[in-house]
Each structure stands twice: as C-alpha cells, then as structure tokens.
C-alpha cells in the first residue's frame, strides 16, 4: 500500500516528497514517507523533551533549600507530575522507536517504506492530538493534573484537578504507540530485502521488533485501565473505589502490567542502537549476534512478568512478592548478556572514539549503575528500606535518562550525517558528551545517597541535613541544562550551516549506509540483495560509499 507512483530520481527525500506539492509545511504534514515522519517526530519529541528538562530544572531549583523556595507544594505536585507525564509519554516511550525506528527500520531492512505508510502518518497525527490534549489539560478548568505520572487510585478519583483529560491524552498516545508497533512488526515480517533472513537483520531491527511486540501486547491493558479511571470519575462505577467494594491495589496491578513492560519499550531500542554503534567504531563484527538478538526477545518476554516489583510495600501476599522478586532478578540476565557481548566486541577492536562511541561508553557506565541498583530494589529486604525514596528516583533516572536518553543523543550523533547529509562540529560534540557525563553524575548520584539516608520522593520540602547533597544535585541540573543547549546548538547549526558530510563517514556496513546521504525518496536506487552478515566489515571493499582514507583498491 505504499505510495508507489513516484519516479526514482537523484533527489533526496528532503527535496522530494510523496505529496503533490514538493515543498512547504503541507508536504511534510501529509507525507507518508517514513523518513519525513521520523523527522517530524524528532522535532516534536525534542521540543517536549526540552519542556520536560525545563520543568526538571524548576523542581531542582525549588529543592535548593529546605522549605518553600520558589513555589508552593501544590505547584510542585503539578510540576513533578507534568515532568513525568511529558518525559514518559511524550519523550521516552515514543523517542527512539518513533524517530529512529521510523527512519531506519525500512532502511536497514532494504525496504522502500514501512508496511502501512498511511497508518504510519495516522500514528503521528494521533501522537500530535495526544500531545495537544496534554497541553489543553493544563489550561482548562480544574487545573493541571497533580497525581504523579502513575495516577494512583484513590487520589486520582478524589482530586479535583483535571485528571480525566490528562489520562485520556495518555490513552490517545497509547493508541498511537499500538499502531506504530503493529506497523513495525508487519514491516519486519513482510518487507525484508531479498536474502535478508531473520538472522541477517541488523540488531537495531531485532530490538525494534521486540519493542514493537511489547507495544502491541502491553499497551491495551493500560488503555482499559485508563478508561476505567475515567468512568470511575464520571459515573462512580466502583471497580477501583474501596468505598464501593472495589480494590485500589487492582489498579496498581493493571497499571504496572503495562507500565513495567513500557520500561522495556524505552530501553530495548536504545540497546539496539548500542549494538549498531559499537561494531562500527570498533571495526569488528558484533560478538554473540544471536545472543544479543535473542536476549531482546527474552527481555520482552520476562519483562512482561515482573510488574509487581513496583508494589512490594502495597500489601500483596508474601508468596507473590517472592515470585516477583525472583523474576526481577531473572530479567537482569539478558541485559547483562548484552553488556558482556558489547564489551567483548570491543576487545582487540580498532577503536575510533568519535562522539557517538563516547556516548555509548557513558551509556554502558550509567546503565550498569542503573541496572545494578535495580537489583537492590528488586530484592525484598532492601526495597522496603529504600522504597519511594530518592534511591528509586536516582535508579530510574540512571536507567531511563542515562540509558535511553544518552542513546537518543548517541543515535542522533551517529545518524545525523545520514539523515541530513551534513556534519556537525566533532570537537563541540566531544565536549558535549564529556560535559553530559559530568553533569549527569552530579545531578543524579547524590540522589542515591539522599535516598539511602531516607529522603522521600515527590516532597517539595526536606530536613536540613539533606541540604548539601540537594545543592550539589541542583548545580548538576544547571550544568545539564547548559550541556543540552550546547548539544542542540551544535546539531541545529550543523543542520543549517554545516559542512556537507561524506555519505558514510563512520564506515558503517548495515544497509542504510549503502545508499546516499540523505537517502532518496524510495531509499535505494535499486533494491539491495543481502548476501553478507550484517556486521561483516569486508563489505567496505565493495561498497559504493566508504569513509575517506579507507578506499580499497
């Protein structure tokens, strides 16, 4: 069902679209080209990311001193809720799959587009509607939502703020996520280039595929849960309301049945990007290709069965907590398999520490800390001590921001020349990566200690003995803001005034590097035929585009 009456020409997708008009905003908003849709996601998602960052900086500013500093408690409640809702539903869940999945899944498969290009555009439109609803919910009567991004009942039924509209926005965004997921699954099954068997697919494709399955399987559960909360608010159905015989713990179960797998929707595509970047910059084929591919599916599967570790203190049965704790430890295994294979890939490699690779290095460091502290939380005894403290906040920022967020930047730096055909300033990019690493640890590491000392999460006030660490963390947030502005400046100025990049500056060998940069509308001038393994660098000898200085006779 692709738009297929378009001639193959020498023009890139930036110059030639699928719509009748060649330029103007409509040629983007109505384009069914997966690459243009990916770019539109990139712009919207980056904008929301920046809003989320600013909200985070405001929270840190409030916490620079005990007591009320710049906002009252209710404002603080609203701001941490919005920070969570925006970062989770508008940035990190759609982030890598919608931006880089859209752009590179068909390219890496050697396809002209995704399986359902019009549905793909519809997903983007639904995403926009969801985002608009979030924004509208801030200004209509009742005021912005203040429940935290988890919408726990009974508070989310009792509060007078605008819960219904905000969570309906989450429902709409979930719908967009489902449609993207089923589109990607079908694409992987139906549109692989000739010769590309499942085990010749690049690992980013594998992880996006696993992610797409989680999106399809898990999202409907949160959809129905959200609908029930809305019905509860309007009609008093009673399903989650203890006053009517309902059970609020059931809400927590149903919420986390989606929201824990959603954590893997966030991290799996990032792991796929890492598996792309490391071989390219170490000039070695990936170590343990099948183990990495299968561990993605294992994470998707086991990740579905660990949700109740968010609820160890909610009063579940002892047996259930022990089982969920065990399963939580189990899900760490496939993640560890990946980390070991990445490190093994670098062994005796010819490492070229360009910015994308540096970002991956900081990912491995931060993600390892985040992952191991996850085990602290997965163990029943320690969890009770640090439950709902800053320790949890630090843990999930190390995994989500240090993991997925870092790789979002790594992917941007890795594929920027491919997407735009321009090259950014490598020196500023290197400084940005280093600054990010320092800022990140200054901002979040003190939270581990604060949490261990007993600082609860979501409080706008604290005891005086926490002051020093809170100040360090707040300084980190300023540094982080500067770093992000620097990164954005570097990429934007490269986009508008950057030097023309080589078509394959890093010497990547997966299919997206076989075509021009930026790619033509239908991706490849002729449909590629796959004969080699995905990370076989001997392909550089015969490829059309190779980095300068690496030409073979």
């Amino acid at each position: 069902m692709a738009n297929s009456t378009i001639a193959i020409s020498e023009k890139s997708y930036l110059e030639e679209g699928t719509t009748k008009k060649a330029s103007g905003i409509a040629s983007w908003l109505f384009s069914t080209d997966h690459k243009r849709i990916g770019i539109m996601y990139l712009i919207t998602i980056s904008a929301f990311f920046f809003i989320g960052v600013l909200l985070g900086v405001l929270m840190r500013l409030e916490l620079i001193a005990p007591g009320e500093t710049i906002m009252d408690a209710q404002t603080y409640n609203v701001i941490f809720t919005l920070h969570g809702v925006i970062m989770i539903f508008l940035f990190i869940i759609p982030g890598i799959p919608a931006v880089f999945g859209n752009f590179f899944l068909p390219l890496q498969l050697g396809a002209k587009d995704v399986a359902f290009p019009r549905l793909n555009l519809l997903s983007f439109w639904i995403y926009l509607i969801g985002a608009a609803l979030v924004l509208i919910s801030l200004f209509v009567q009742g005021g912005p939502i203040d429940t935290g991004w988890t919408f726990y009942i009974p508070y989310s039924v009792r509060t007078n703020t605008n819960v219904s509209l905000a969570i309906f926005a989450a429902f709409v965004l979930g719908f967009s996520s489902i449609l993207t997921g089923l589109n990607f699954v079908t694409t992987v099954h139906r549109l692989r280039a000739p010769g590309m068997s499942y085990f010749k697919m690049p690992l980013f494709v594998w992880s996006t595929y696993a992610t797409a399955w989680i999106q399809v399987i898990a999202t409907p559960v949160v959809g129905i849960t959200i609908l029930l909360v809305i019905l509860e608010r309007y009609f008093g159905v009673g399903i989650f309301d203890p006053a009517l015989g309902g059970d609020p713990i059931l809400f927590q179960h149903m919420f986390w049945i989606y929201s824990h797998p959603a954590v893997y929707i966030m991290i799996l595509p990032a792991m796929g990007v890492v598996s792309e970047i490391i071989p390219t910059f170490a000039r070695r084929t990936i170590f343990g290709y099948r183990a990495i591919a299968m561990s993605s599916l294992a994470i998707a599967f086991i990740g579905y069965l660990v949700w109740a570790h968010h609820m160890f203190t909610s009063g579940m049965s002892q047996t259930a907590t022990i089982i969920f704790s065990f399963l939580t430890f189990l899900v760490a295994l496939p993640s560890a398999i990946k980390v070991f294979n990445w490190v093994a890939t670098m062994y005796k490699g010819s490492i070229d520490p360009k910015p994308p690779f540096l970002w991956v290095m900081s990912f491995i460091f931060l993600f390892t800390i985040g992952g191991l502290t996850g085990l602290v939380l997965g163990a029943l005894v320690t969890d009770i001590h640090v439950h709902d403290t800053y320790f949890v906040v630090a843990h999930f920022h190390y995994v989500m921001f240090g993991g997925t967020g870092t790789i979002f930047f790594a992917a941007l730096y890795y594929w920027f020349p491919k997407i735009t055909g321009k090259m950014y300033n490598i020196k500023i990019a290197t400084i940005g990566a280093a600054l990010f690493f320092i800022a990140f640890n200054t901002l979040y590491f003190p939270k581990f200690i604060l949490g261990y000392m007993g600082m609860p999460r979501r409080y706008y006030d604290y005891l005086p003995e926490f002051t020093n660490l809170q100040i360090i963390s707040t300084i980190g947030s300023w540094l982080m803001l500067i770093t992000i502005v620097l990164i954005m400046y570097n990429l934007l100025s490269a986009f508008f005034n950057g030097k023309k990049s080589e078509a394959n500056p890093w010497g990547g060998v997966t299919l997206e590097w076989h075509t021009d940069s930026p790619p033509p509308l239908e991706n490849f001038h002729e449909i590629p035929e796959v004969t080699k393994e995905p990370y076989d660098f001997s392909q550089l000898k015969t490829m059309k585009h190779v980095p300068k200085g690496e030409e073979y006779e």
Partner: protein, 207 residues
Amino acid sequence: MSNHTAELTHEVHRDDVGARMGMWLFLFTELLLFGGMFLVYAVYRHEFIDQFRIAAMALNTTVGALNTIILLTSSLTVALSIAALQKGNKSLSIMLLVMTNILAVAFMINKYFEWSEKFQHGIYPGSETLLNLPDGQILFYGLYYVMTGLHGLHVIIGLIFLSIVMVFIFTGSVNKDSYVKLENAGLYWHLVDLIWIFLFPLFYLIQ
C-alpha cells in the same frame, strides 16, 4: 529520470498477507483490551461469588439469548458476503452486508431496551438504588455496564467499518480480485461476535 527506471514508476505495492497480518495484530490488541476487563471480572467474581449470582439472576436471559442468536447470524452473513464477492457476485455481497448491518442495529435496539429497563428500576452506576445494594452487586452492575457498553461501542465501530467497505464494493475498489479490506472488516466483526460469546455466559448464564 533515466529510462531504465521508468517501468518501476508504475509498480503498485500490494501485500494482502501483510494487510491481514496487521489486522490480526490489531485484533490481538482488542482482545487484550477486553482481557483487562475479563481479569477484573475474574477477580471480583472470586471475591463476591454469592452476590454475583444473585445480581445475575436479575438479568433477562431471553433477551441475552436473542442477542446471541442475532450476532451469530450476522457473523454468518458477513462470511457469506466475503464468499459471494470472491465468486464475483457483487450485488449478493452487498445485500449480505446490508443484512449484517440490519442485524447489528437490531442488536443495539435490543440492548437499548435492556439497558433502559434496568435504568427504570433505578439500577445504573451511581444511582441510589444501586448504592444501597451490597458491594458485590454494585461491582457486578458496574462491570455489566462497562463491559457490555464497551462491547456495544465495538458493535457501532464494526457497523461503520462494514458500511465503509460496502461503499468500496459499490464503487468497485473492493472487488473479486482485491477483497482484503472486506476480509479485514469481516475479521473485526467476528471479533465483536466472539467477545459477546464470552460476555453472554459470564453475565447471563452463570447463575
């Protein structure tokens, strides 16, 4: 545009297997949506086993059975409609779809009378009569309204879906050689039917 690419320009990509696969995945998400509700039902049935039994006795099994027959028949007509189109009988295919739609409307009319009868007895979420009943019965009726309501919504969506495809058959864009849209609409309709097959015993029969 060089000459050797000219023949590529008119190639239309069509993938019926892919389209069906996408539909099956979508149906899977619909099942999980209802799956969440069935889970809630199971939890509360287990917790309030006696109250559920008492509340279920107040539902009208005859109306429920009638609706089951209506939906099962409509699944038959939609399947026959696909077969008719495959054999090239366009008018019969459209007629069978019209019949399916009439049956769907009949289902909704039945549902309307069933619900309004309950409303007349003062039994609806948040009503005083209902709130005076024991917790188990409040939950039973809460689930009853949410689940049959959600199902009714799907009947309406299916009705719209089938009507759109009917227009496509009429204009000829869905035809003897390209009928995957009708098949997908049919699949959706069977799902709507299938969910009712589970709702019917859970609410009306287990007493």
